[in-house]
């Protein structure tokens, strides 16, 4: 296949029809490059690409493009995340060019958590454009070779464009249309919110497949293993848009002292098995938050190793 949009590893793996497996790595709250290299090191060889978060939860961290470059140096393929909270359209377009020029090939387009959640709540947010319009912007720059103002881009950035989707937030009926809208705007791949309610996700995917969305875009199912009952309760009660069924909390509680994390991993592994068979699901996005060292074990037990080389 010669007409890759970006030629990224993730794109090649998905286009070849392999079940993709992506990971995530949050940059440090400082210039602790060694810690970043160490965390990323766990993911090497286990995933097709690594999402590098952009000031996630509105907490200041090393910039996502810089951390992405460090991952590149480590031999990992970054999926550079960009949020619209901290940049206007000038900065967004110039960062897209800069990231591409330095070797970044995947980019995930997000609106970004509101700054009131983070550690600089008095900051002025930008939101000049939103995630939907960011997708549109990258696609326009890549495919039309034009900036938002219609001026020509001198060598367009060839990026594989990603977007997020939350199947669980209300209004549920609208969610699949919002996904369709992101695909129409230019998303090549989707990484969903962490999934725990499998029935609801199955229904969401049924609707997406009915609309043929899985043929226009690669949909990766989001998985975050629960480390503890406390984490599950926090996700269930404190994180809006997150759907954690009582049955899962009960199951984790029933695992007994010292065995909850293993039960959480088992649930994640069962999910991954289900996703492998679920129509329209092209892979899994594993968000093992501050649990990067567990990724090799999870990947091994999920039977997704070795990762394909395309």
């Amino acid at each position: 296949m010669s007409e890759y949009k970006s030629g990224s590893n993730l794109e090649k793996v998905l286009r070849a029809g392999h079940f993709a497996f992506t990971g995530e790595c949050g940059p440090p709250q400082g210039a602790n490059v060694e810690h970043l290299r160490e965390k990323a090191g766990h993911l090497k060889g286990c995933v097709d690409a690594v999402n590098v978060t952009d000031n996630q939860t509105a907490v200041v961290r090393m910039s996502s493009w810089a951390a992405s470059l460090i991952l590149l140096e480590e031999g990992l393929e970054p999926n550079f995340q960009m949020v619209c909270r901290d940049r206007n359209r000038l900065a967004i377009q110039s960062d897209i060019l800069g990231a591409y020029s330095l070797g970044i090939r995947n980019m995930l387009c997000l609106s970004g958590d509101h700054q009131s959640f983070g550690n600089h709540p008095e900051a002025k947010n930008v939101f000049d454009i939103d995630s939907m319009q960011l997708i549109y912007t990258v696609k326009k720059m890549r495919d039309e070779g034009k900036f938002l103002n219609e001026q020509e881009v001198d060598v367009p950035p060839r990026l594989f464009v990603g977007a997020a989707s939350n199947p669980f937030a209300e209004p549920f009926d609208f969610r699949v249309y919002r996904l369709a809208k992101k695909i129409a705007a230019g998303a090549d791949f989707i990484q969903t919110q962490c999934i725990y309610n499998m029935d609801k996700f199955r229904e969401f995917m049924r609707r997406a497949v009915d609309m043929g969305l899985h043929e226009k875009c690669h949909i990766l199912a989001g998985v975050t293993p629960m480390k503890s009952v406390g984490m599950a309760l926090y996700m269930a009660k404190q994180v809006p848009g997150m759907d954690v069924p009582d049955s899962l909390i009960k199951r984790l509680r029933g695992a007994g002292k010292g065995k909850v994390a293993e039960e959480g991993i088992k649930f994640a592994l069962e999910q991954i098995e289900t996703f492998k068979e679920m129509e329209g699901v092209a892979g899994v996005h594993l968000m093992a938050i501050e649990w990067e060292h567990k990724v090799p074990e999870i990947a091994e037990r999920a039977g997704v190793l070795p990762r394909p080389s395309v």
Partner: protein, 216 residues
């Protein structure tokens, strides 16, 4: 009627702004700040009381009918002597009133309030922002409900993933405006409007600071 919604500055900030200014003339407003109970007659009286206790001399006080109106200049003129005796005018109106009074009096002014937003009283004692005056109105596509104002991120392409039982993830006291818009458009049979990609908006419909001239 839309109003200018204000709240009183923290006392420590007021004390700092009034430091070294002993003689104070206090001005309230009979319109918006009376409604919000931040600068009506009772609040002006309470402010005078507080300042007196702190050793300030109150040279006079006044509650203007509509502080932002052009008639303010004439009313202020009637209080010229009392105002001239003051080191500072402490103004309990919105920022429009403060600027108007500064213009007409030529005196040093200190605002007692912060102006929060342009809004309306939606329930007794509850005020909601209704319009950010963005200059690029999209109400025609959102069922007459404004997401630019009422979505914390000003999103124009539908609800983010943080909708929380019809409330916003950022403030459970506030409705998710996109849920309201969805319900309204569904009732109107116009959900298609939400499925259309809204392109990047023009945030400079009028350059800030806004100024236009019409032919008259």
């Amino acid at each position: 009627m839309i109003r200018s919604i204000t709240q009183q500055k923290p006392e420590a900030e007021l004390d700092r702004l009034l430091e070294g200014l002993r003689r104070v003339f206090v001005i309230g407003c009979g319109t918006c700040t009376t409604l919000t109970q931040t600068g009506g007659a009772p609040e002006v009286a309470a402010m005078k009381e507080r300042l007196s206790q702190e050793g300030k001399l109150i040279t006079g006080d006044l509650v203007l009918a509509v502080a932002c109106d052009n008639l303010t200049g004439e009313t202020l003129a009637e209080y010229g002597d009392q105002m001239d005796q003051a080191d500072v005018l402490l103004i309990m109106t919105c920022a429009f009133g403060v600027q108007n009074i500064a213009l007409h009096s030529g005196k040093l002014v200190v605002p007692a309030l912060d102006t929060l937003f342009i809004g309306k009283e939606t329930a007794l004692g509850e005020f909601n922002e209704v319009c950010t005056q963005c200059g690029d109105c999209i109400l025609g596509e959102t069922g007459g409900i404004c997401p630019v104002t009422a979505c914390h991120k000003g999103l124009v392409n539908g609800p983010c993933g943080g909708t929380n039982n019809g409330k916003c993830e950022i403030d459970p006291d506030k409705d998710c405006v996109w849920t309201l818009i969805y319900n309204r458009l569904r009732d109107l049979g116009r959900l298609d409007a939400m499925r259309k990609l809204q392109r990047p908006r023009n945030h400079q419909a009028v350059l800030n600071p806004g100024k236009i001239r019409i032919s008259v």
